[in-house]
């Protein structure tokens, strides 16, 4: 019998070590790789318990930055999972798993400090993602907005995000005219009142923030306070951001219609069309006003123009309807930056 030494294979890393390696990768800026590996490669080895346990034992102060990285990493993985199979979001096991792990990580992080920049960014990012799905009803993701508001009660962006959420809740109620023809039900009005409260605070906290002002103007209009709405929608008219300027003019046109001023509405809609010609919403609004004024040929002409606009550009109205969804890319970039620039130890 020959005896020979066993080949010196390296021991495979433990699931926990593999998991910590992924967090390290993310911290070094290899975001896509870390997300991809956690999502596709390592997920079979690193089960939910490993990740949750890791979050619970990572209590030492120097691990805080690792926890922040894990918070962003799991969020990105969850977003990818949700986007890959949005139809079955509620029954998506991976989404549920990462949501639970995120709850555990979040609990640890806020145990260190409740108002760190990474938590602020994550609250905004998380809520922006939830708002993108909000019109589907109950989103199977944990709700952290109240914690964000509690930790950052004067933060203009947090207040804007809260206002946008209540505006979306109103939209969900009021969208079907058979259920609530003018959004006047108690539930709908309650949502609008909450939206007004948060948005007004947001404007007070940052008077130069154009989005909060535009949303506040629309909400005031929906509440029937047309004069106050006009004040918001005509203030700061030069935002320097074409999409917001377009929306401001679109809502101003709507306001003029509600004030029984179709000529004023046409002026606003035509200004919006002149600003950025591709979106359809302002053209359709103008066509509808013309139609109501009995100018059927004009209505047909403008509607036809609307349907012949370029296909490769989005309408700001479509983004507006999804609350803070449009900010996901920005918040993700900020969150990644905070993680990469953190100085804490990885071990």
């Amino acid at each position: 019998m020959w005896l020979c030494a066993a080949p010196a294979f390296a021991q495979p890393p433990t699931p926990r070590a593999s998991y910590e390696n992924l967090i390290g990768l993310y911290r070094k800026g290899a975001f896509e790789r870390a997300v991809s590996e956690l999502r596709f490669v390592s997920v079979a080895d690193i089960d939910e318990q490993v990740m949750t346990d890791w979050a619970r034992v990572a209590r030492r102060e120097e691990r805080r930055d690792d926890l922040a990285a894990a918070l962003m990493l799991h969020s990105e993985v969850l977003f990818e999972e949700a986007a890959s199979d949005p139809v079955r979001l509620r029954s998506n096991v991976a989404v549920r798993k990462h949501n639970q792990v995120l709850d555990a990580i979040h609990q640890q992080l806020r145990g260190y400090s409740r108002n760190t920049p990474i938590l602020r960014t994550w609250y905004l990012l998380w809520e922006a993602f939830r708002q993108g799905f909000s019109m589907s009803g109950n989103v199977p993701l944990s709700d952290h907005l109240d914690e964000g508001l509690s930790a950052f009660p004067e933060d203009a962006d947090m207040l804007l995000t809260a206002g946008a959420r209540h505006e979306l809740i109103w939209w969900g109620v009021a969208q079907n005219p058979q259920r609530d023809p003018d959004g006047n039900s108690r539930a709908a009005q309650g949502s609008l009142n909450e939206a007004r409260r948060y948005l007004r605070k947001s404007v007070d906290a940052n008077p130069k923030a154009i989005e909060a002002r535009i949303r506040l103007g629309r909400v005031l209009m929906l509440l029937g306070d047309l004069d106050a709405a006009g004040e918001q929608l005509t203030a700061n008219s030069q935002s320097g951001q074409p999409a917001f300027e377009y929306l401001r003019l679109l809502f101003l046109g709507d306001l003029r219609e509600r004030q029984n001023d179709p000529a004023g509405a046409m002026v606003a809609y035509e200004e919006a069309i002149g600003l950025t010609p591709s979106p359809q919403s302002a053209r359709l609004a103008a066509a509808q006003v013309s139609h109501g004024m009995g100018r059927r040929s004009d209505a047909a002409r403008i509607a036809t123009q609307a349907m012949n606009t370029k296909r490769d550009e989005n309408d700001p109205w479509w983004g507006y309807q999804r609350g803070q969804w449009w900010r996901i890319g920005y918040y993700m970039k900020v969150g990644r930056g905070l993680v990469v620039n953190a100085k804490g130890s990885t071990r």
Partner: protein, 310 residues
């Protein structure tokens, strides 16, 4: 001379004006045209004469001066939902059904093709050229969210000054997710035209919405159509039909779509067009209408009223 040219020539030759509202065709004095479907159970009732009808305009009985049946050329405005949920096999079925409508056009009929997701696209305006319509149909693609209300209004706005009858066939399989216009405003526009809306709805499951973020990232929020949302959507479609004198068709399977489309066109051809000169009614404003058939146990479907500005 074709029927379309005959009508146009008759009006023009008399030195009269066809108004753009089309609900009222002003020919020196104002007349009102009402499009009515008369059914006995599931069968359309034919052979009725003007004197068989009672028409109440704002509660005041009117004398029907003219009646036609299956004789006026049709304008069919196809407003087709091509949002994300229609991708694949449903789009094939939709094309099949629309092709059947095109093939069923008579010599004087015209059709238009308007497809919508979140974006509206007019593939072709009203034309009698069947090949042009089929080519346009072949270019229709599916994807993205649903702007059903915006598209319905745009279809109504396409109604031109032609004196033919206009059917707006509205196909959708879900709830509105992206329109700027509200249902109230679109219903108001529907009341201001003589277009008859026939919605055709397919009951489906989930809807997928694709949104491109300004940051460049593309993700897909989902909109799950619940049973409740489906019912509410049908209620809205029914309101469009009832306001304009049309009828809602609901099909359970995509495979039934072609037959539903053909049934809509067939039913629209079997409607009566009643004309009268309003007498003893207040103006301007909303005029509620009631159309009945004397001494017959039948159901009459007609628009609920019309607006007049003078």
């Amino acid at each position: 001379m074709s029927m379309r040219r005959f009508i146009t020539a008759t009006i023009a030759g008399a030195g009269l004006i066809a108004s753009v509202g089309a609900q009222q065709i002003r020919v020196g004095i104002e007349v009102v045209r009402v499009d009515a479907l008369v059914m006995a159970g599931r069968q359309p009732v034919t052979g009725l004469k003007a004197e068989d009808f009672d028409v109440l305009d704002s509660g005041v009985a009117q004398a029907v001066s003219a009646l036609s049946f299956e004789r006026l050329p049709l304008n069919i405005i196809c407003v087709l939902d091509v949002s994300g949920s229609v991708q694949g096999e449903p789009l094939r079925r939709l094309r099949e059904g629309t092709t059947a409508i095109i093939d069923a056009l008579a010599a004087d009929d015209r059709a238009a093709l308007l497809a919508f997701s979140n974006r509206l696209q007019l593939h072709t305006g009203l034309t009698g050229d069947k090949e042009k319509l089929k080519t346009a149909l072949a270019n229709v693609e599916a994807g993205n969210a649903t702007s059903m209300l915006d598209a319905t209004f745009a279809g109504l706005a396409l109604r031109d000054t032609d004196p033919g009858r206009t059917l707006l066939l509205l196909f959708t399989d879900g709830v509105d997710t992206a329109s700027w216009l509200t249902a109230r405003r679109v219903l108001d526009a529907a009341r201001r035209t003589d277009v008859v809306i026939y919605p055709v709805s397919v009951r489906t499951g989930p809807l997928v919405t694709i949104v491109n973020l300004p940051s460049g990232a593309a993700m897909m929020p989902m909109r799950q159509q619940s049973t409740q949302q489906g019912k509410e959507s049908e209620t809205l479609l029914k309101a469009f039909a009832e306001e304009t004198g049309g009828r809602l068709f609901v099909v359970e399977r995509q495979t039934d779509l072609k037959q539903a489309f053909l049934d809509v066109v067939k039913e629209f051809r079997q409607r009566y067009v009643l004309t009268y000169t309003p007498t003893g009614v207040p103006a301007p404003g909303w005029h509620p209408l009631e159309v009945r058939v004397k001494n017959r146990n039948v159901q009459v479907t007609a628009r609920r009223g019309y607006y007049t500005s003078r």
